[in-house]
Assembly symmetry: C2
Homo-oligomer: 419 residues x 2
Amino acid sequence: MDARPAYEALTVETLPDRLVTISVLADRVGPDPSAWTVEEVGDGNLNLVFIVGGDRGTVIVKQALPYVRLVGDSWPLPLYRAFFEYHALTRQAARDPGAVPEVYHFDETQALIVMEYLSPHVILRRKLIAGERVAGLAEFLGRYCARTSFRGSELSMASRDKKRDVALFAGNVEIPAITEALVFTDPYRDADMNSHTDGLEPLVAQLRADIELKVKVQQALQRFVSNTETMLHGDLHSGSIMSTDRESRVIDPEFVQYGPMGFDVGMLCANFLMAYFSQPAHRGEDLDEYQCWVLEVISELCSVFDKEFRSLWRSERTGILYPTVLFEDQGQDSTPACDAVLAGLWRDAWMVCGIEMHRRCLSLAHNADFEDIADTTVRARLEARNLMMGAELLRRAGTLEDAGAVCAMAREFNGKDIL
Amino acid sequence: MDARPAYEALTVETLPDRLVTISVLADRVGPDPSAWTVEEVGDGNLNLVFIVGGDRGTVIVKQALPYVRLVGDSWPLPLYRAFFEYHALTRQAARDPGAVPEVYHFDETQALIVMEYLSPHVILRRKLIAGERVAGLAEFLGRYCARTSFRGSELSMASRDKKRDVALFAGNVEIPAITEALVFTDPYRDADMNSHTDGLEPLVAQLRADIELKVKVQQALQRFVSNTETMLHGDLHSGSIMSTDRESRVIDPEFVQYGPMGFDVGMLCANFLMAYFSQPAHRGEDLDEYQCWVLEVISELCSVFDKEFRSLWRSERTGILYPTVLFEDQGQDSTPACDAVLAGLWRDAWMVCGIEMHRRCLSLAHNADFEDIADTTVRARLEARNLMMGAELLRRAGTLEDAGAVCAMAREFNGKDIL
């Protein structure tokens, strides 16, 4: 007999009474719920997020909503994504300790996670729009992406454990379906929920007319839906990162799924590139210098990724892929094998990067980097550079030397008057 | 309360009494079990296979053993593979009606499937060694491979159904692990269970010294373990096909897993190529003519695959990949997309083909095509051609024009004196 109450969305008013029995709240916030302060701060699309404070401290209570907030209850979404977020957070914490908020409590029925309150962290995207720098950002993100890529794959995991996880996360259907549609397909067709800045019509038409480009995008989708190389964050943009001026964390892994090892790092780089292209509308005299810093973050992030991945290759290659019995144990260097894995990984990454740059300007969920630009003429001009570089990345993904080549490409497009 | 008896291996003696309550046996064999004839004919490595006959007809009773027959009870294998075989057979029957034996009954606890008795079918490998032809073979196999590839993928299936199946078959761990080790890894290292014909030592050393080649093999393994494109048979060689002189069926899908769309057709072609290379030891005056026929089967099989896949692409592309909204609905031809998918599929296929040609001569499970050659000097000479062509296929997999190029390569190696 299951006597637990059915799912019900929390409110600022009902939260203290409803969560009073969770001992971790008494321990970490305070024993008297009537003394708790509760604030709802969710600015995402899918969840309620409460900051719950008291004399002992502050925690975050995150609860999934049964629909997409952005479009209302016409778009239902299963609550089970909290289950997947919880399992993603515990794995990420094990694979890169300290990179994600600590989980204190999980309630599957209420689709609710009580977790660490990050303060004075703010969403990285806001800092990038405001022209703020974060010390150690590239190193943190490069390491996080490399560690989760490597340690969630059969380069490292036992096959039995990895297959069990693939089966577990294959249950997350509706959330990846959002990515499959909004990211990989809708930008290249006339989808109902699409929108774009006035003036971009010729570029939209150009992308949709480019069959070769659409084939590449769909090849990336084919890999996204059927390549279970590692456990992804699945939505790693600058809105899924919280930072102070010297410390960062990765949040919100509810788009978790098994997918290509280059997916997260590719989407992440796209979001830095969009920060880069949008800067002329946000900066004054410090424009050049700040744009330089953003490109340095991309370049260093990728080089840290590469270094960390190679280090794990040497020290933690305990899975069935590229086993030492085939190389080192036969007195041979396995570096060519690691080179080949990384070449495929970066090809996937730059393709996803280009696609993410398209979808954030053409599909449903735009980003504030561009949306905060009130003057749509300026916005369209900057978005145009971003869109055309996305297409160029898709074309050249398999032959790009390294992130330096990507940054050089960004500088080139940043100087172009496309519209 | 589950009162069903625990698993117990059947014997010729116990089968009638133990299976008397299964109504399909009474219906299809005869109501009096004491009148049944029971013969055990399993020549595979993993199962008991009984032919059960009576006045109404004959059926096959296949029961999984909890260990690998070839090496005895020192290599335990879970009984659940009968569960996966059952689910594979029902899906294959739906995707290519008539291609697999009809299933009459499944008992999960006893790891037992009652299925259609194929007669006068014999194992195709025996026919190939005996120099016999099978009318319609290439057409049947090309169609089977194309239909199961296409219809088990997200080119056709709804994502929800495909993900559910990926999760289901991810539970099949130990059986794919055999392939992962015996096919992709052991041939290229000094594994305990390996064996090869005397005289091949220089070629074995050459393959193990070839780092570039081993990297390619491991890239194929990476795709095998983490690319869930479609539901594979997983062990589609000429011992998994039964034929009369004009009709064929595919049997024994217990190695089923989700994997690359080119896997089955690649392994299948390898087994025809091994039939081809072994013929000089089995034929007399009819050698040239029969070898020609074997190559024609490969070439036609691949061309039927291509044609059938393209036909399904046009008529059944209902999944989320390469959707018509991106091509046809925009007035564009999606043939370049189909070309790209097939190019990747054949690259995977020729890589698997080369690897299968290696493992059948170097790893644990050799095939009768070569093993039946008593004169080891002759055998080594023919196996050498096969091994070197396997390596060449791995090197050229990405750039081969079509199966015609593969057949030309086979003719070339067939004329070489390597040892």
